[in-house]
Symmetry: C2
Subunit: 712 residues, 2 copies
């Protein structure tokens, strides 16, 4: 016994169930309903499903409902050629009139209604939409009602997505490694494609459709041109065919120099006619294989990727040459604004704005500029990117990161909806108060007719898809917010918990509380009060506030925290880099003034003395240190909460999360001790009273090396 740890015994003794799905089923984790009222209502009211069996999307919708209904209620829901009382009826809007059904269906191809109505004296559940995919969305929304054990009587739901293109970005390499991927290998098994369609491809599409995601960029933005060769396009086509019934369009990251690398041209100059023709021919070839191909995503002139500037051309030139190849086929070109020059920068946070604002209005109509939520890089917390609202003539996509590159990778519990919403709800003041980032994105602020949002996927071939069981919630939340950014993080968490775990009220409350706090906890023990990018070198795992002397200043931590014996923080005010001026005046004023700048962004915008007095009355130094200690404390609270749920959730999952929280606790302590000791070595100040000194010294932490960190 002496070699067996306590946890291990738990594992050995609790986890033999062959029925456990180990998280594979995600939030579509149907279980027999426990509430007798719901069971009785559903089996009493619902008798059959009526749909157009000639349409593959309606077929899968029916199959989804039948499968869910069967597991939830233990009863069949047979398909029926005619409508009857008790039918769930999938009907395109175009068919309503013929049946004298007078119902208002949203004026949006993806929108739907779900209504209990009486038609020809038959009481039915009507799911209607302008499109087949809208019927599938409606079906999933109806299934959710059943999972959540909602009443059907008087059911009356009408929904439309606020954003048109709701897209996952997979940073998946062709050798199946995933850049910033922490959930195993890439889902895409290129070697066995196109001949072998893995069941996972279908389940991936199902999961996406169930939350309204309608597009996927299959390959890394650091792209390999091989993906555009005919042989690989056949593989892409196989995936597109598999996803199509679920309304998922396929997109590809295009490497700017593909015309040279696979087209054997001498240049990739976007103004060269042969280059333009090459892209047109390539687009034609793709659309012949994949008639509903979504378009290209391009990362150009950023972090060593080739781009138009290599030929003395602008981003507009670069984007437009691809956009024109796609335009005849209704494809879109997503052009990333995450660029920074290779010369030593003035302030990296300012560069995208500086490069892109002069180009506004010069992009073709099917170009969207894709902007990260913040101006640096997916930090635990960043103020919103100043480009939002600053390109009124250009449709802007937000790029959010679901994979936890900077938030503890696969071992930290981080529910990211609060982070996403912090960005989306931010008011840019671009057209006065209420000009939120969300309204920039959805096109309503500037009257664009295309709109989009991208989420960098956290999906790999781990059995549970996302590595950490709770990381699934970020996939879910991204889909829900892309559909409707007005949902609260609480609502989304609540749904996800009920669908993933169970509908027990105390479980819900406990888990919800953990989730809603989780991101702030990570901010506390990683980068409190506006600190940012002080992670370890290259892989971004673990603390590295001491990182300096790298090829570029903005690849170091000392560049970002600017700590010295007098104080800490990056002065981005008018007395510093003046990055604040990139925001609209109302916002600029708030951020620029240390008295109005929200403390959560304090050191992002201000360099302040260690003795600076925070709103709490304590010094900046004390405040920083207390945040670090608080973060660790909060992880301990999560551990206690989770322990209390041992009997409430699936045993396998409980044990997984219990172990992960323990790892997270160790990592939080690592972060706290490293940062506190390092900043103390700079400030020379004592720890606030009552906080115990880290056991080990700074030297110990600085000498830790992390090898083979995943996701590179």
């Amino acid at each position: 016994m002496k070699f067996i740890q306590k946890t291990l015994i738990l594992i050995l003794l609790t986890t033999l169930s062959v029925k456990a799905d180990q998280g594979y089923n995600l939030w579509l984790n149907y279980q027999k309903l426990t509430d007798p009222v719901s069971l009785k209502e559903y089996t009493g009211l619902l008798k059959s499903i009526h749909f157009d069996s000639n349409n593959s999307t309606q077929q899968v919708a029916a199959k989804e409902l039948q499968n869910a209904f069967g597991i939830l209620t233990g009863k069949d829901l047979p398909s029926n050629r005619s409508m009857e009382s008790g039918s769930v009826v999938l009907l395109k809007e175009s068919a309503l009139k013929a049946l004298q059904i007078n119902q208002q269906v949203p004026d949006n191809a993806d929108g739907f209604i779900i209504k209990q109505v009486t038609v020809q004296n038959k009481q039915i559940i009507l799911i209607s939409s302008q499109s087949d995919i809208g019927l599938l969305y409606g079906t999933f929304a109806f299934i959710k009602q059943l999972q959540l054990q909602k009443r059907l009587t008087g059911l009356n739901i009408s929904e439309s997505p606020k954003i048109q293109h709701r897209i996952l970005n997979h940073w998946d390499n062709l050798n199946r490694t995933v850049e910033r991927g922490y959930a195993g290998f890439s889902l895409w098994n290129w070697h066995t494609l196109p001949g072998y369609i893995d069941k996972r491809y279908i389940d991936y599409a199902r999961a996406n459709a169930s939350v309204g995601i309608n597009g996927t960029v299959l390959n890394n933005v650091n792209a390999n041109s091989l993906i555009l060769t005919h042989e690989w396009l056949l593989k892409v086509k196989a995936l597109a065919d598999a996803f199509r019934p679920y309304g998922i369009k396929v997109y590809l990251s295009a490497r700017f120099t593909s015309p040279i690398e696979i087209g054997k041209l001498k240049t990739a100059d976007p103004l060269n006619e042969d280059v333009a023709q090459w892209w047109k021919d390539k687009a034609n070839e793709i659309y012949k294989l994949i008639p509903d191909f979504g378009g290209f995503l391009v990362k150009a002139n950023s972090e060593g990727q080739p781009g138009p500037q290599d030929y003395g051309r602008t981003h507009t030139d670069g984007a437009n040459v691809l956009a024109r190849a796609l335009a005849p086929h209704q494809g879109i070109l997503m052009y990333r604004a995450f660029v920074y020059a290779n010369e030593i920068p003035e302030d990296r946070a300012k560069q995208a704005y500086n490069e892109f604002t002069p180009l506004d209005g010069k992009f073709d109509k099917n170009v969207m500029v894709q902007v990260k939520n913040g101006a640096i890089d997916f930090q635990p917390r960043e103020p919103f990117h100043p480009l939002f609202g600053a390109l009124p003539k250009t449709p802007i996509m937000a790029e959010l990161q679901l994979t936890q590159e900077y938030l503890g990778m696969s071992t930290n519990l981080a529910y990211l909806s609060p982070l996403f919403k912090e960005c989306l709800d931010s008011d840019t003041y671009a057209k006065g108060k209420g000009s939120t980032v969300a309204k920039v994105i959805d096109g309503s602020l500037d009257g664009h007719n295309i709109s989009g949002i991208a989420g960098v996927a956290n999906i790999g071939n781990d059995i549970n898809w996302c590595g950490h069981p709770f990381a699934q919630s970020n996939w879910y939340a991204f889909g829900k917010l892309a559909w409707n950014y007005s949902l609260s993080s609480e609502e989304i968490a609540s749904e996800w918990i009920k669908m993933t775990f169970n509908t027990d009220a105390s479980t819900l409350q406990a888990i919800s509380q953990m989730m809603l706090q989780s991101r702030e906890t990570i901010v506390n023990y990683m980068t409190p009060l506006g600190l940012h990018h002080i992670m370890s070198w290259s892989h971004h795992y673990g603390p590295g506030p001491w990182i300096k002397d790298k090829p570029r200043a903005d690849w170091t931590s000392v560049y970002y925290h600017q700590a010295d014996k007098n104080g800490i923080g990056f002065d981005r005010t008018s007395s510093g880099s003046n990055a604040t001026a990139q925001y609209f005046p109302e916002v600029a004023k708030i951020f620029n003034d240390v008295n109005t700048c929200p403390e959560k962004y304090l050191l992002w915008f201000h360099h302040l003395p260690w003795s600076y007095k925070l709103k709490s009355g304590e010094s900046l130094w004390d405040g920083i240190v207390k945040h670090y200690y608080l973060g660790v404390k909060e992880v301990e609270q999560m551990q206690n909460t989770w322990d209390s749920l041992a009997s409430k959730v699936d045993g396998d999952i409980h044990l997984q999360v219990k172990q992960l929280l323990k790892v997270q606790h160790e990592e939080a302590i690592l972060w706290r001790n490293s940062c506190v000791l390092y900043f103390q070595s700079i400030s020379g100040l004592p720890l606030p009273k009552g906080l115990s000194k880290p056991e080990k010294d700074l030297n110990y932490y600085q000498n830790l090396e992390y090898k083979y960190v995943p996701g590179i």
Copy 2:
């Protein structure tokens, strides 16, 4: 509908079951028993389980039986502190006497008996062994009886393994890629170790224990010295702790230059005292963490790996310095004989023999030399390695390859038991007739008291562990043959099919036939009549009989097939490289004489004119071509057989295999056409009558390029 292929529709419409395990459960795929006789007998006879609840191995044994019994019968099998009628009793041999049970238990620590006996007027099922792990093996064997619906009355089983160390070799890199791995990423998630014990680690151990595998080398033989640093050893310890209750010992591949790379010594010379001390200290460190650590595996002076020859020392010197570090802890040192010099070789097939035979008797007692089944490299067919029997003073392990490096990777159905047995059953004549390879391996021929066998694992993090559903059978077969090489391939296939699919007789017969034929089919369309190593460059995927002009002659295909306008084959007879002389005279004579050499090895040993007359009466040229065509035909037969089983096996698995067989058929045609066209371009001879010419020309096949083939 027009974009949806037929297969895709099948996928969409048949695979929503959340209960399907997608192959995760392997052969431990318990299902409620369908045979009423068995059900009645089991529930009537079996009432409880009695075991020593203070022992973790007995605990897991009981848990395994309770879990299996519950699913198979739908009834509980509670544990009982006292024996009662109907108890399944786990009892160590040492406890039998006290209870006045007089039963003969095998004189082998891993052996066991399972007997229906009457003790104190109570009828029980007694499982007894000298060891706890023997009780677990006995429990799994008993579960198998239930899965196979065997009668319990009069049950009387006594088993002992013939080979002591039954070890998987994982060629897993620390970045989680797997060399020659075709089933996803490495199982070992080093980043989350040691804190996070994935459920898969336990299920991996369970699966191994269920077939008697008792060791695992965690990392690639092309080793990274990092694994021996303290930080990584803590991760290794976590795995060892997880595996221990299942009797799985952990081993590591040790890089020969570790003393330099992590020990900061200036040399790794095995005769240097500091080096010897470093290995001793390292072994002490390891055993402090892992008291039952198994030992090291070393690949030295082979394919660029460092080794003793770099310091002018011998393999013996290299092996013994590590062996002496392990010896005080009862660890073993496995030293691979897969070596070949970096100079241009005379005949690569001869080198291992030439290097190792002079060293026989010079290895320390805890060294085992690990020899691949054949002298080249895991070909679809090779004659047995001449080293078997040629090192009588040295314990020899056989190294078999479960992963299908040369047999179609993850897309080809290849049941490898016939290949393994072809080697194990070969008669070396080392001590006269009956001196089989198996008897060399098990130590009985030369009276060694340690014995071992290694299987290069085909396991990754794919949900079904092995990529191809049928690849699981090779993990199973390896374990069974390692335990008892006398089992027939038919018996092993039969058990595996029943445990994995179902016990339906017609299903069994059909699948068994497919499996037993499968490897020969691959030989037919890849390398018939003794051809070998004519795969594509580097990754070994697809045909490359035209490969030439590489840095080493023995890295080309033309070196191995030696085809010219007059004939084909590698002359390894006394008139050629004389490799035949490395075998004992009785064997050498058979192989050396074209008239007695089995035709399956013909071109391995003989260079013959295209017109050479085969036993069938047809010319060698016609025979080669017909084999290639036959291979494709046989894949078509497998497809037909499998199609006929659509209603007999799990729908998901059926569809997976159906798709894979289609891919295999295309690959078989690719092989056939490439090889036939290429050899025809050399021989200038027409195809035999009745065989249709390949559609495309040789140039087409030669220009195919395979990018990002997995497993490199």
